[in-house]
Amino acid sequence: MTRMNTKRIGGAALAVALASLALTAASCRRQGGKTVSVVGSTSIQPFAEVLADEFHRVYRDIEIEVQGGGSTAGVQAFMNDIADVGMCSRNLKKGEAPQGRPVVIARDGLAIVVHGSNPVNDLSVDQIRDLFSGRAANWKQVGGPDRVVRPISREEGSGTREAFEKLVMKKTRISRKALTQESNGSVKELVRHDPGAVGYMSLGLVGTEIKAVRIGGVKPSAENVLNGSYSLVRPFLFIVKKQPRADTQKYLDFVLSDQGQRLLEKEGLVRAK
């Protein structure tokens, strides 16, 4: 008798499981035509999610699916037709996504950050390169106190790192001694506690506990990024097809609209135009 019961319960559970599976599959298919997938840079991801939420409030019938994975992965997903939109937090390299059209959705300043007690307020791009390449191993060499320089970099493949290498390091390698951290947050945490540290991170995320230095006399601020006087700027790109689908186009239009741009500004980015 008990065995019968177990069997019956098992059967019921199986039926429920199957039914729910079928339902999920059906609902997926129903949404299939109306889902825009946005894949790529982890730097843009949080902003794209905010935009998607806001967008969904206006267009109830279009689903936006945002995924991370990194700039390179985003471009690849776009090229393989897995994603409708590729997110990329650096300029495209030659030969990347030839069938796509890169659209600048916002700009992000790259801040060079030091400990709050560090008297150095202003650095040239050459000096920054020396600090990170190891040629300047002491802050004395760039007009600071007698203190060891500890450069803090990001992991290989990070969009922030690639933008930094392109804008500052050019062909020079980042020193092997540079500490490597996995996120803007942990770079900030290290710089906050280490008087000798120097790091780079997204300008929108600097906050007040650490100091972002002037580059060649120019203060790192949203206005200076917008008017072009601050030199360390990287674009946040959406890569879309030359003739995108109607719903993809709607999302893109929303992102570039005044409402979308204002949302990005509020989150700490700089307008595209």
Binding site: G69, S71, T72, R150, E155, E156, L179, E182, E189, D194
Partner: protein, 329 residues
């Protein structure tokens, strides 16, 4: 109905059985038990079905191991051979964008951190194990042992976080350097391997026959002399196995190490230098890597795999030698 069948089963299995079970290993199946219950067609069949199911379950574990091994070797080995084994293992030029993959600094890093962790971990675990088995009233043991074992249940991120928040600033202000260092990683890992090494060492020490200890005391040795010269000597191979298992755990740990080691590409020259281990290298870069870079990370995994295999083989040999010796006794 079932009465005659029981007899038949007994008769069927009866003859020849005792003689055979002497010679053959016990893999022949549950012989003696079967005679105890009524053996119907179904119960005989279900026996076989269940044992087959259990076998399949056991095989899954082995299959998983085989698949993982095959996969990482397939992904990683070709690149190691392409770039040259010595270039891959003995160069510290890790510049994935330029196609340079040298993991020497990380091998040194992994070994340095593991060595440090073992020095710290073994000193504390062994003291724990000795106190718990030789000098401790049972009441205290019943509190101490579970609390040490509880350490094993703390997630590694928590260890890493404690390291970053407490240990790293301490090292930076009192000893110098960036704080993120071989020393910090060793201390964190040392604490993490403590439960493993302690509990296996405790088992090894408890397995030493009581008569050894009694004999030594009877000959006039002090309690400490007995522990040091007799009990520890007798449990030596078990303790070695414990240490090697702890080593495997230390070398494979990732999360806590990423947080406290600093992860530069340089070969560390002092305990206060930051360091990148094989595991952190894989974990940090896997998210972005594609093409050769990805394959190089798999090759890093192959290297780690081989190192851990070597450690495991040593551990197995040591503990097997112990088993053989105790049988000979």
């Amino acid at each position: 109905m079932s009465q005659p069948q029981l007899d038949i089963a007994a008769v069927e299995e009866g003859p020849g059985r005792p003689a055979m079970s002497e010679a053959s290993p016990p893999s022949q199946g549950p012989g003696p038990q079967r005679r105890l219950k009524p053996s119907t067609w179904w119960s005989r069949r279900s026996d076989r079905v269940i044992s087959l199911m259990l076998l399949a379950g056991a095989m899954t574990a082995i299959a998983a191991l085989a698949v993982i091994t095959a996969f990482i070797f397939k992904e990683g080995l070709p690149l190691m051979l392409e770039k040259g084994l010595s270039d891959f293992l003995f160069s510290s030029d890790w510049y994935p964008q330029e196609g340079k993959f040298g993991i020497f600094a990380m091998i040194v890093g992994s070994l340095a951190v593991t060595l440090g962790a073992m020095i710290i971990g073994v000193v504390f675990s062994l003291s724990c194990a000795i106190v718990l088995t030789q000098f401790c009233p049972p009441r205290v043991v019943s509190i101490l042992k579970p609390s040490i074992e509880l350490l094993a249940g703390i997630p590694s991120v928590v260890y890493g976080f404690m390291g970053v928040v407490i240990l790293v600033p301490l090292i930076r202000t009192h000893l110098g350097g960036p704080g993120l260092s071989v020393l910090a990683a060793s201390i964190v890992l040392g604490v993490m391997v403590l439960p493993t090494v302690t509990s296996i060492s405790v088992d090894a020490l408890q397995a030493v026959p009581r008569s050894y200890r009694e004999g030594s005391i009877a000959l006039g040795a002090t309690s400490w002399q007995t522990t040091w010269r007799v009990v520890l000597k007798a449990a030596r191979s078990g303790i070695v196995a414990a240490v090697i298992l702890g080593m495997g755990r230390a070398i494979g740990e990732t999360m806590a190490v990423i947080m406290v080691a600093g992860n530069p590409l340089d070969v560390p020259t002092s305990p206060l230098d930051p360091v990148r281990t094989l595991t952190s290298n894989i974990a940090m870069e896997m998210g972005y890597a594609s093409g050769d870079h990805r394959r190089a990370l798999f090759a890093t995994g192959v290297t780690l795999f081989v190192i851990i295999m070597i450690l495991n083989v040593i551990a197995l040999t040591v503990s097997r030698r112990r088993a053989v010796r105790s049988k000979a006794r």
